[in-house]
Amino acid sequence: MTRTTYLYENGVLVPRRKLLTSALAAGAGALLGFPAIATSNKSLKGVTLNTSLYSSPYSKLLRPWIAEFEEATGAKVNFDTPGFPVYNQRADLELSTKGSAFDAVNVTFIYSSRWINSGWLTPLDEYIADANKTPANYDVKDFLEGTLAPERGTDGKLYGIPWQAEVTIAAASRFDALKQAGFAFPQTTQELEQVSKALNRKEGAAGFVTDNHYGWTFVPFLHAFGGDVFRKAPNDLYPTLDTPEAIAAADYFARLLRDCGPDGVVSYNPDQALQSIKSGRSHLSVQGQINLSQLADKSSSKVANTAAWGLVPKGPAGRFPGTAIHGWGIPVGSKNKDAAWQFIRWATSKEILQRAVAAGYASPTRRSDIDSASYRDRQRANGFDIAALTIDSIALSAKQGHMKYRTVAAYPQVDQQLNKAIELIVTNQRTPEQAMKQAQAASIAELRRAGVTI
């Protein structure tokens, strides 16, 4: 009869044999460059994990590394990465049915409140607290608190591990052309319009471009003009789209697109808008930094040597960068939750995120990454510090709290009203006043229908 000896690991009694096996597995993992996460080698043999994340620089970096996770754990990982809108529709449908098609999914910022508070995702606190499932070196406190906050439900529990902290910034593709024309990088909404108009159709490029998800790209301007989406999210959700400030913002933004945008700009999705500025077919843009930081990528950007970056322009009411946090979560219907957690832990581990940052990943969520020399060096281009812009934007957003509107469960409905309103104004189908009043009325109807008391 063999006697089991127990030893302490992270304050927990663990059989000696298991501890030794774990140590060996961790050692083997380290040799393979795999983070020390598996409790035993091939512990997930026979498990197939279905994971889904929208197509992004992070998902592209992660894809080839997944083989290492599979090698170390024995799991097979199906990694699905459709485009952003397709992903959201698919995930929204799958989560709402509480199905088991996915084991780990992206918790999309715009849907986070709806998915979390509808009970469609699994709380992760128990996994994090369990030393057998999460070693201390995973260090969840290393994630910026501002990135963890949107992943919490109204019950205070954590439902997602953030992998992307996106902020809206401004960029110029041909800063040399701006300087030649006697302009500095535009800092205000007024300057942005002035420079966009002056450079429009110069050097074969449009003055300004952005993508047609206006519920994301227009709102920094709405805020800058003193407007807002709701009266005071998340407590008072009465829409405020027909205020004089909101109408003025819509008028300004639509004018910018109509007068200075490339032909057909209202049909531009994020990839098109990015390609337009990356190839020098547009001069200025306000988009997510995950996109605009790619202007510095010499292998794919025609304007890598002439690009410049800055904060979103300041309006009469101030500067209001948009922020969006995306995280990994486990659907409540998943049949492989423990394995899914292992995968998420691996995909958001210090080692993997550091490796991503070293490869040029621009939107880390861990403080250690943001502070690292590797990240700061990678994010410097043509004398501009994109990392500093990102950090400043996150700090500003946290301080002002202007992004609370975006995690309201019924925001997708209002988001669509904003999209339609801007399209109607840009294409001269409605005046700014008519379009915003229409959006206001439709938003009120939609919110009431969604059961929101206003």
Partner: protein, 332 residues
């Protein structure tokens, strides 16, 4: 046969089977009419043979349809499934549809897209089929080329047209500009966006009509054609009075198929305009998609789908009726 003889015949045995035990089914009563076992067996075999098809039809067609109708009678919203799966106001969604301006607008957009699209497909398909009906090798090769759009996956067709309609990268726009005929973006202009989608849809589907008409043209009887030519009928008269009446039914079938399919022009709308700019290209199924999948109002989205289904049935009935009348007149 006189009535008396008929009555007498009815009382007499009519076959050997009624006089002797049934050799195939010995336990069956000899008094039964001879055809009954065979008929029963035949009906049983028919039923058994049909049963798998009926089961499949029931499970994959009727059950989902019943589910759709049932859900349309509820205010089901996936964000609150427990609270909303009830039938307190079974016609609530339908009543709301009548007051939903965006829905009513989507019906009008659908009507324009379907009628113009199908008419153009019929005209172009018919015209090209007549041109290609020569039997030459060249015509045969060209015919194959025309079939390419029809066999492409819809999403690929949508991407092709997205490139063509994006002035920054479009060879079509570059060429027009080179010729001094610059054209503004067609999909971002509310006056042209819907017609740009119709053009793409017609491009993909006119070959269907062309193919059907070509096949039908091969079967046009030669005698009346020759007779008309001998009588001095010109080409138009031959087409108008002999060929076209012969093609009418085929054209009605094509119209029917294309009409049904025109309600499913989803990938083009999704990729090219996303229902915009504004709502100018938002057809009914796209609006239903937004309600169901963007907002999770499944009850409401299902009601939209049921209305569409009913509309398609009505349209099919109308087109079939027209086709029957055309056929009947032709027969007379």
């Amino acid at each position: 046969m006189p009535p008396a003889a008929l009555a007498a015949a009815a009382t007499l045995p009519t076959s050997l089977h009624e006089q002797s035990p049934n050799p195939i089914h010995p336990r069956k009563s000899a008094a039964q009419p001879t055809t009954q076992p065979w008929q029963k067996e035949s009906a049983r075999s028919y039923g058994l043979g049909l049963a798998p098809a009926l089961v499949v039809l029931g499970s994959i067609t009727l059950l989902p349809l019943l589910t759709l109708i049932t859900v349309s009678l509820t205010p089901l919203s996936l964000t609150n499934p427990e609270g909303t799966f009830h039938f307190n106001q079974p016609l609530g969604n339908y009543a709301q549809l009548l007051e939903d301006e965006r829905f009513l607008h989507s019906l009008w957009v659908q009507f324009k897209l379907s009628t113009v699209g199908v008419l153009l497909q019929l005209l172009i398909g018919l015209g090209l089929a007549l041109l290609l009906d020569t039997g030459s090798r060249v015509a045969s090769g060209v015919r194959t080329l025309f079939l390419i759009p029809m066999v492409l996956p819809p999403i690929v067709v949508a991407l092709i047209w997205k490139i063509l309609y994006t002035p920054e990268i479009s060879p079509m726009h570059a060429l027009l500009e080179h010729w001094g005929l610059p054209v503004r973006s067609l999909i971002a202009n509310p006056d042209t966006a819907l017609w740009a989608i119709v053009a793409a849809d017609v491009w993909q589907w006119f070959p269907f009509t062309m193919l059907m008409v070509l096949a039908n043209l091969q079967m046009v009887p030669r005698d009346p054609l020759n007779a008309a030519r001998i009588d001095g009928a010109n080409r138009w008269q031959v087409f108008r009075y002999i060929v076209f009446p012969f093609l009418k039914r085929t054209l009605v079938v094509c119209a029917l198929f294309r009409l049904i399919d025109s309600f499913k022009a989803f990938p083009l709308l999704y990729v090219l305009t996303n229902g915009g700019p504004g709502t100018v290209t938002e057809v009914t199924n796209f609006y239903g998609f937004i309600q169901a999948f963007n907002f999770s109002y499944w009850g409401y989205g299902s009601a939209i789908a049921v209305v569409m289904l009913a509309g398609i049935f009505v349209l099919c009935a109308v087109v079939s009726h027209l086709g029957r009348n055309a056929g009947a007149r032709h027969a007379r």
